[in-house]
């Protein structure tokens, strides 16, 4: 299946937001469909369930939900006297990066602990009981609960 993914060519840039949106959903479905084989490849069945992984993927996509309007954003870069205009299609770029990541995962280019670190325990470690108690807590205490090194 990884090889079929590899053969998928990078599509031309999305014309408008609608197209980018539908592509994103397509990508989400593709990722969700590959969850069973991901669990199989990395022996994740004892640490995570399919729905949890689905939530993680959705969360990764939602993290960039603020990227809506700038279908095309212009980055002007002045290099000496030349004016180079780089046109970056932000959603397409993110989509491409997601596709690349998925590809890497399916090709077994990662190891089990990469998967666990990135998608199972997440960035904040296993302890994630941040709730209303933490309101009004000093930065020191927040850091203290995370690590000894701050």
């Amino acid at each position: 299946m990884s090889f079929t993914l590899r053969s998928v060519k990078v599509p031309p840039n999305s014309v408008n937001l609608e197209e980018a949106r539908s592509r994103m959903f397509e990508f989400f479905r593709l990722a969700c469909r590959s969850i069973p084989s991901i669990i199989d490849i990395y022996n994740l069945d004892e640490v995570v369930t399919k729905s949890q992984l689905r939530t993680t993927i959705a969360a990764q996509i939602r993290k960039n939900s603020q990227v809506t309007n700038p279908k095309v954003s212009f980055h002007f870069l002045f290099v000496f006297i030349f004016l180079i205009v780089i046109i970056l299609q932000v959603i397409d770029m993110l989509l491409f990066k997601g596709m690349e990541e998925l590809n890497n995962i399916l090709e077994h280019a990662k190891q089990r602990h990469h998967m666990i670190g990135q998608y199972v325990t997440g960035q904040h470690g296993l302890v994630q009981d941040l709730d209303s108690k933490d309101q009004g807590m000093s930065d020191f205490l927040k850091n203290f609960y995370n690590t000894n090194y701050f």
């Binding site: 000093s138 020191f140 205490l141 203290f144 609960y145 000894n148």
Partner: protein
């Protein structure tokens, strides 16, 4: 040298045909006819020499300017005091002479011959380590004669030295390896069998591979001169010469680990470190030892998260370049029995791992349920000053002032700093000529202080008197008595040792910190002060009245004023905060008391604890420690903390916030500026801060002396704290070396 080489080439007739037939004596062609090339070199005009700096920053101190003499080292004029050896003169001139047997802190043996130099008008090369420099001496260290001599000596040394560098633990830090690279021949001519020597069993610390020994006798001299034990010696002659204990016995010295450092080859290596790591893999962190109150300067060598070994660091004022065996080999205790998660004791009496959040919440809740005067905090013997400051501040904010450091007794005298530090300073002990040891056995309480006393006894023929239980010293010592009655006799001038004190130029009295635990400690101190007054021990230019502390935390704790409000607070305590305190007596504690143990080892303290908060050990944190002479020093983290442990002060700071009495500091800098307001001397790092006021300010005491003899304060030299008690090596040591 370049000129000499050219000259020798020009002078020597080229005879390429016979060159291959003749077997050359030395490898380097210019050394084949050293005399002629030397003559050629001398003939050449003196080149403009660049200035040189002394080796290792060596400086010359002239006590008497008339004693200065001038010698020439490689053409450089050097002014040195009379009595210096040629080797020392060369060091001042910036020339490092290769040596094996010479060691600046040991007597001169002159038997390795590696330090041969050429001296003008001397028929043969001379051994520079044993030769006194004479005025106008012209020393040449870089001539072909000297080089040939070194190469020859090196060849002889390597003759019987095994070629096992790849499996030798000294590999990479071996003097013989380095010097054979620098001064040896590039080929060997030895085809016969090498000799082999039976290995000796020196105990659980020192591994011997005696075949590698080059008979420099450094270890023999160290054992008899510094360690003060006559265990090692030389047997046999010639190729039968061996280093060993004369009869099969272990090396029973608390400084035996230092022979590993002074051995220039791999004959004596560390047994626990054997085949564990190579020295180039290790990361060195310069830090402070906390196993006793001396605060020896050490270097922790670590690989990744693991402490691999501990080595001494040079500090002339504290430990010179030695450390005790406990300091050197306690490191495996840092890897065993570690507390790595916060734990709470459940209803069934078993510990359950919980999150920091829950642990702190429970501790804070219980702390608020009890009355403020029922809260007690005890700092352990390994605590750093920062965390003790935080503990005191936290308890004060909770409304309690019952905070103290274990080992200081229930009513410590923290008012006068001179009453608990070593006023003479450790290096100052060398000036003394009479010692009176009161209830202290420096050999087990502070091995490095004992080494100083031993050095003084050997150098000045100082007299030592001891009051306390029978014990063995490694220097001549007069056992005066066992209890305070003897002390009283001296104070009243009835004892013959009183005349020794009063006639001495620089008398020293050392009182052990074990006296702090006695009920009549004030009376004992007042008797000691009477002796000091009558014997003129405390003068403006000399303060000989000392207290020898036992624990790394004690001096800082007393400086910070960790003094309990009431002496029997533990009997009514309901909430006890043990910050690494393992040796505190909790028998009188009520059964319903809630105990929080914050520490790094599952030692005695955890068995009654209700909550365990893991902390970092001294090798893992930055902290200030004050040693027994009042010198504040800082540790640096060498390895990361284990598991979910936190630094002591951070835990207390976090707990204070959870408990609603937030401490105002968030950083180590903040806590130090708080310390500045309490004990500014703790921020004068690496500087000894002498006590300002003397004993004369002390009020009269009306306590009666208890004639009970002084107890020995340290039962087992090798196991005194949580780290050393967890160490397997220390357990082996106490099993094999303390056997009576």
């Amino acid at each position: 040298m370049g000129l000499g080489l050219l000259a020798s080439r020009a002078i020597r007739p080229f005879n390429s045909g016979s060159r291959f037939l003749l077997r050359t004596i030395v490898s380097k062609p210019e050394l084949q006819s050293p005399e002629s090339s030397a003559a050629a070199a001398d003939a050449s005009p003196e080149p403009d020499l660049p200035p040189r700096t002394p080796v290792g920053g060596a400086r010359v101190h002239f006590t008497n300017p008339e004693d200065a003499i001038e010698v020439f080292v490689d053409g450089y004029p050097v002014k040195i005091p009379k009595g210096m050896t040629v080797l020392q003169a060369c060091e001042v001139a910036g020339v490092d002479i290769p040596r094996f047997c010479y060691h600046s802190r040991l007597s001169i043996a002159g038997n390795c011959r590696m330090c041969l130099v050429e001296v003008e008008k001397s028929p043969k090369p001379v051994a520079s380590c044993a030769m006194p420099a004479l005025p106008g001496m012209k020393i040449k260290t870089d001539t072909p004669v000297a080089k040939k001599a070194r190469e020859g000596v090196m060849e002889f040394l390597l003759m019987n030295h095994p070629l096992d560098c790849p499996i030798c633990d000294q590999g990479g830090e071996c003097d013989l390896q380095d010097q054979s690279m620098a001064f040896g021949s590039d080929r060997g001519r030895f085809t016969e069998m090498k000799r082999s020597v039976v290995d000796k069993n020196l105990g659980p610390l020192v591994k011997t591979v005696m075949t590698r020994c080059i008979q420099c006798t450094r270890c023999v001299r160290f054992a008899s001169e510094v360690a003060g034990v006559q265990d090692l010696g030389i047997l046999g002659r010639g190729s039968g010469e061996e280093i060993g204990t004369y009869v099969e016995k272990l090396m029973t010295s608390e400084l035996s680990g230092n022979v590993i450092d002074i051995c220039p080859v791999g004959a004596l290596t560390s047994k626990p470190f054997a085949f564990k790591a190579r020295n180039w893999e290790l990361k060195g962190t310069e830090t402070i030892d906390v196993t006793d109150a001396v605060g020896s300067n050490i270097r922790i060598d670590s690989r990744g998260p693991e402490v691999m070994r501990i080595l001494p660091r040079l500090n002339e004022d504290i430990n010179e370049e030695w450390i005790s065996d406990k300091t050197r080999f306690c490191y495996d205790g840092l890897k065993r029995q570690r507390l790595n998660d916060p734990m709470i004791r459940g209803a069934d009496g078993r510990f359950k791992v919980v999150s920091w959040r829950d642990a702190l919440a429970i501790v804070a809740e219980v702390a608020h349920q009890v009355k403020p005067e029922e809260i007690v905090g005890i700092a352990g013997k390994l605590s750093d000053a920062e965390s003790m400051m935080a503990l005191k501040d936290f308890l004060n904010r909770m409304g309690s002032n019952n905070v103290w450091c274990e080992g200081t007794g229930t009513q410590p005298n923290a008012d006068l700093r001179s009453g608990y530090i070593m006023n003479t300073s450790i290096s100052g002990l060398e000036k003394a000529d009479v010692f009176l040891l009161v209830g202290t056995q420096p050999r087990v309480e502070a091995a490095m202080v004992n080494a100083r006393i031993n050095k003084t006894v050997r150098a000045n023929n100082a007299k030592v008197g001891y009051i306390g239980l029978e014990t063995d010293f490694n220097y001549d010592c007069q056992h005066l008595g066992t209890g305070p009655n003897t002390l009283k006799e001296i104070a009243e001038g009835r004892h013959p040792f009183f005349s020794a004190i009063s006639n001495a130029k620089n008398p020293v009295i050392i009182v052990g910190a074990g006296v702090f635990e006695r009920e009549d400690k004030d009376a004992i101190f007042s008797v000691v002060e009477t002796i000091a007054k009558k014997g003129n021990v405390v003068r403006p230019d000399w303060n000989g009245l000392n207290v020898l502390l036992h624990n790394a935390a004690q001096a800082a704790a007393l400086d910070l004023g960790l003094v309990p409000e009431s002496s029997n607070s533990i009997e009514s305590a309901k909430f006890v905060y043990l910050m690494g305190a393992d040796d505190v007596n909790l028998d009188k504690l009520p059964d319903d008391a809630f105990i929080v143990y914050q520490g790094h080892h599952g030692d005695r303290g955890v068995y009654r604890a209700n909550v365990i908060l893991p902390a970092s050990a001294f090798s893992e944190k930055e902290g200030t420690y004050e040693n027994t002479e009042g010198c504040a020093q800082q540790t640096l983290p060498a390895v990361p903390t284990v598991g979910d442990a936190r630094d002591d002060w951070k835990t207390i700071r976090a707990l204070s916030e959870v408990a609603g009495v937030r401490l105002p500091y968030d950083t180590l800098g903040g806590i130090r500026s708080r310390m500045r307001t309490v004990a500014p001397n703790l921020l004068q790092v690496d500087e000894r801060e002498p006590a300002t006021f003397g004993h004369s300010l002390k009020p009269e005491v009306a306590q009666k002396l208890n004639p009970a003899p002084f107890k020995s304060a340290v039962e087992n030299f090798y196991m005194t704290d949580a780290i050393t008690r967890a160490s397997k090596i220390m357990a082996q040591c106490s099993a094999s070396l303390l056997k009576k």
